[in-house]
C-alpha cells in the first residue's frame, strides 16, 4: 500500500478574500510498513495534508496515489480507499454516537457490508487492540466512559475497518501521561505485529523521536524536511525558526557537548543514557 503524493496543492476558499494556500506543491512517497511522523507548526497544513490521503479533501491541483490508483479518478471507489486508509481525527471521541460501545465500533465494519459474524470478530479484535476489555465494555454507553476510554473506543472504531494505512492526527492530545504512553505504545505494537503503515501527526518531539522511522516536517504548506528523526533533529536551529524544536534530551546532550563533553547525537532518553554511561566508564 504505498502512498504517493505528486505536486499536491490545496487552496481554501479560492477566489475570495479568505483565500488561503494550505498546501503548496508538495510531493513525497510513503513505503509499505513505514512508521511516518508528521510535525509542523499550527496551520502548517498537516491536517489538510492527511485528509487528502483518504480522499476526504480533493486536491486543488496535483495527484494522490494509494496502491497505484489515483484518488478522484472515476474507476476508484472512495469507500474502498477509506477502508484501506483509516483516519483518526483529532479528538475522535466527539464522533461517538451509538447507544453501546459495540454498536459504535461496529459502525465502520457494517458500512463495509460484512457479515454479522465477521463484524463481531473485528469489533472484539479492535476493542482488545486499544487495551479495553471486550466483555465488560461492549454493552456500556460510550457517553458514560471517561475521556481516555472514549478516545480508545473511537480509535477502535477506525481500527475495526482493518486499514492497511493508519493515519493518526494527534491521538494522544489531552490525555494524561499514562494514557498517552499506553495509546502510543499500542500503535507501535500494532505497526510491528500487523505490518501496517502508520502516519502519526504529533506536536511532541519526544514521541516522534521514540516511534517513527521517518519524519515529515511541514512549514507553511511546504515540506521542510523528510528524513529520519536523527537527521531531522540535527537541524535544531532551522526547526526552531519554523516554530518547532527537538526533544529535550537532544538539547541537553547538545549543551553538554558545547561544554566539552564527548557525546554523540541523541534523540531519546535511552541513547542519552548509554552515551553518558560510556562517558563515565572511560
Amino acid at each position: 500500500m504505498p502512498v504517493k503524493v505528486e505536486n499536491l496543492t490545496h487552496v481554501y476558499m479560492k477566489d475570495s478574500v479568505f483565500e488561503h494556500v494550505a498546501i503548496d506543491n508538495i510531493s513525497f512517497e510513503i513505503q509499505d510498513g513505514e512508521f511516518i511522523g508528521i510535525i509542523g507548526h499550527t496551520g502548517s497544513g498537516k491536517s489538510t495534508l492527511i485528509q487528502h490521503l483518504n480522499g476526504l479533501l480533493k486536491p486543488s491541483s496535483g495527484k494522490v496515489f494509494i496502491d497505484g490508483s489515483e484518488l478522484g479518478s472515476k474507476d476508484v471507489q472512495m469507500k474502498k480507499i477509506r477502508q484501506k486508509v483509516g483516519l483518526v481525527f483529532q479528538y475522535p471521541e466527539y464522533q461517538l454516537f451509538e447507544e453501546t460501545v459495540y454498536k459504535d465500533v461496529a459502525f465502520g465494519p457494517r458500512n463495509l457490508g460484512l457479515s454479522e459474524d465477521e463484524v463481531e470478530g473485528r469489533v472484539r479484535k479492535a476493542i482488545e487492540l486499544v487495551g479495553l476489555d471486550f466483555d465488560s465494555i461492549s454493552n456500556v454507553s460510550p457517553f458514560e466512559l471517561s475521556g481516555g476510554q472514549k478516545r480508545r473506543v473511537a480509535i477502535a472504531g477506525v481500527l475495526a475497518m482493518e486499514p492497511k494505512v493508519l493515519i493518526l492526527d494527534e491521538p494522544a492530545a489531552g490525555l494524561d501521561p499514562k494514557g498517552r504512553d499506553e495509546i502510543l505504545r499500542g500503535f507501535k505494537t500494532l505497526h510491528e505485529k500487523q505490518k501496517i503503515t502508520v502516519v502519526l501527526v504529533s506536536h511532541s518531539m519526544e514521541d516522534i523521536a521514540n516511534l517513527v522511522d521517518k519524519v515529515l516536517v511541514m512549514n507553511k504548506g511546504k515540506i521542510a524536511f523528510f528524513d529520519t528523526p536523527r537527521n531531522v533533529f540535527r537541524e535544531a536551529e532551522t526547526l526552531e525558526k519554523i516554530g518547532l524544536g527537538v526533544p529535550q534530551v537532544t538539547y541537553l546532550v547538545k549543551m553538554l557537548r558545547e561544554r566539552g563533553f564527548d557525546l554523540a547525537d541523541c534523540i531519546n532518553i535511552d541513547e542519552a543514557k548509554n552515551e553518558l554511561l560510556k562517558l563515565f566508564k572511560r
Binding site: D15, S16, L56, R82, L87, Y94, Q95, F97, N111, G157
Partner: protein
C-alpha cells in the same frame, strides 16, 4: 459543500457602506425591502438595480459572491417563477396537456422572481457588510424603546449575537464530524430518502452533544466573568449618527421617491 453557505457571513472591509451606523443600515434595509413591494412596473426595477449597484460598488463586494449566495435559494426562486407563470389567469399564449401559460402569468413570474432576488440580495448585503456584533448592537438600540413595555431587548440581542457567532463554529463542527464518519465508511450522498435520513444519525447525535456542551461551557464562561444581563451595562463603543449616515438616508429617500413616483 458546507463551505458554500454564505448566509449570515460577514466580509470585513473599510468602505462607506461598512462604516455606516448599524442602526441606519438596518432601517435602510427595511425601507428597501418595503420599497420592493411598491415597485409598480418593470421600469421601476431600474431604480432598484441602480440602488443595489451603487451599494455594491461602494461596499466593494463582488457580484460573484452575491450570486453564489443566491445559489442555495434557486429552487425557491424557480418554484415561484414557475407557479406564477402557470397559475395566473389571462391571455393564453402557450398551452399543452391542459396547462397553459398566459401573458399576464409571464409578466407576473418575472416580476415575482426579481422581487425575491432583490429581497435576498438586499438582506444579505446587510449581513455581508455589518459585523455580527455591530448588527446586534444596532438591533438592541432599535428595540430599546420597546423595553418600556417589557421587551427584553438586551437579552434578545445577546441571544442573536451568540446564535450568529456559533453558525460558523457549528458548520465547521458538522464538516469535521461528517468527515470523521465518512472515514468510517458512512455515506451521506447516495441512497433513497429513508436511507439518507438514517445516515444523518451518526452526524446529528455528535453534533447535538457538542452543541449542548458548548452552550454549557459558554454559560459558565460568561458567569465566571460576572455577566448578568442588560441592567446598567455600558458600552465601549457608543453608536453615533454621523454625516455619512445622513447622506445614506438622503440617497435612500431619493430612490424611494423615484420608485413611488414612477409607479
Amino acid at each position: 459543500m458546507i463551505k458554500d453557505i454564505t448566509i449570515g457571513q460577514y466580509i470585513p472591509g473599510d468602505t462607506p457602506v461598512h462604516n455606516l451606523d448599524p442602526r441606519i443600515k438596518i432601517i435602510i434595509t427595511f425601507v428597501f425591502i418595503t420599497l420592493l413591494f411598491f415597485v409598480g412596473n418593470y421600469f421601476s426595477y431600474l431604480y432598484i438595480v441602480a440602488f443595489m449597484g451603487l451599494t455594491l460598488i461602494l461596499s466593494k463586494i463582488s457580484l460573484r459572491f452575491i450570486l453564489k449566495g443566491l445559489k442555495p435559494l434557486i429552487v425557491i426562486i424557480l418554484l415561484t417563477v414557475v407557479l406564477n407563470a402557470f397559475m395566473t389567469q389571462g391571455e393564453v399564449i402557450w398551452s399543452k396537456w391542459g396547462i397553459s401559460i398566459t401573458r399576464e402569468g409571464l409578466y407576473q413570474a418575472g416580476y415575482m422572481g426579481l422581487r425575491l432576488i432583490f429581497l435576498i440580495t438586499g438582506a444579505s448585503l446587510l449581513t455581508l457588510t455589518t459585523s455580527p456584533i455591530a448588527l446586534t448592537d444596532g438591533i438592541e438600540k432599535l428595540l430599546n424603546p420597546l423595553k418600556k413595555i417589557g421587551l427584553p431587548a438586551h437579552e434578545l440581542a445577546m441571544m442573536m449575537t451568540i446564535a450568529l457567532r456559533f453558525i460558523p463554529t457549528l458548520l465547521e463542527e458538522t464538516d469535521k464530524i461528517m468527515k470523521a464518519q465518512m472515514a468510517r465508511g458512512a455515506d451521506f450522498e447516495t441512497g433513497n430518502l429513508v436511507n439518507r435520513a438514517k445516515s444523518m444519525v451518526p452526524l446529528l447525535v455528535p453534533l447535538f452533544i457538542s452543541a449542548f456542551r458548548r452552550a454549557d461551557e459558554l454559560a459558565l464562561a460568561m458567569e465566571a466573568r460576572c455577566y448578568r444581563g442588560g441592567e446598567k451595562r455600558t458600552r465601549m463603543k457608543q453608536l453615533k449618527i454621523e454625516f455619512r449616515d445622513y447622506g445614506a438616508m438622503m440617497i435612500t429617500a431619493a430612490f424611494c421617491f423615484l420608485v413611488i413616483w414612477s409607479r
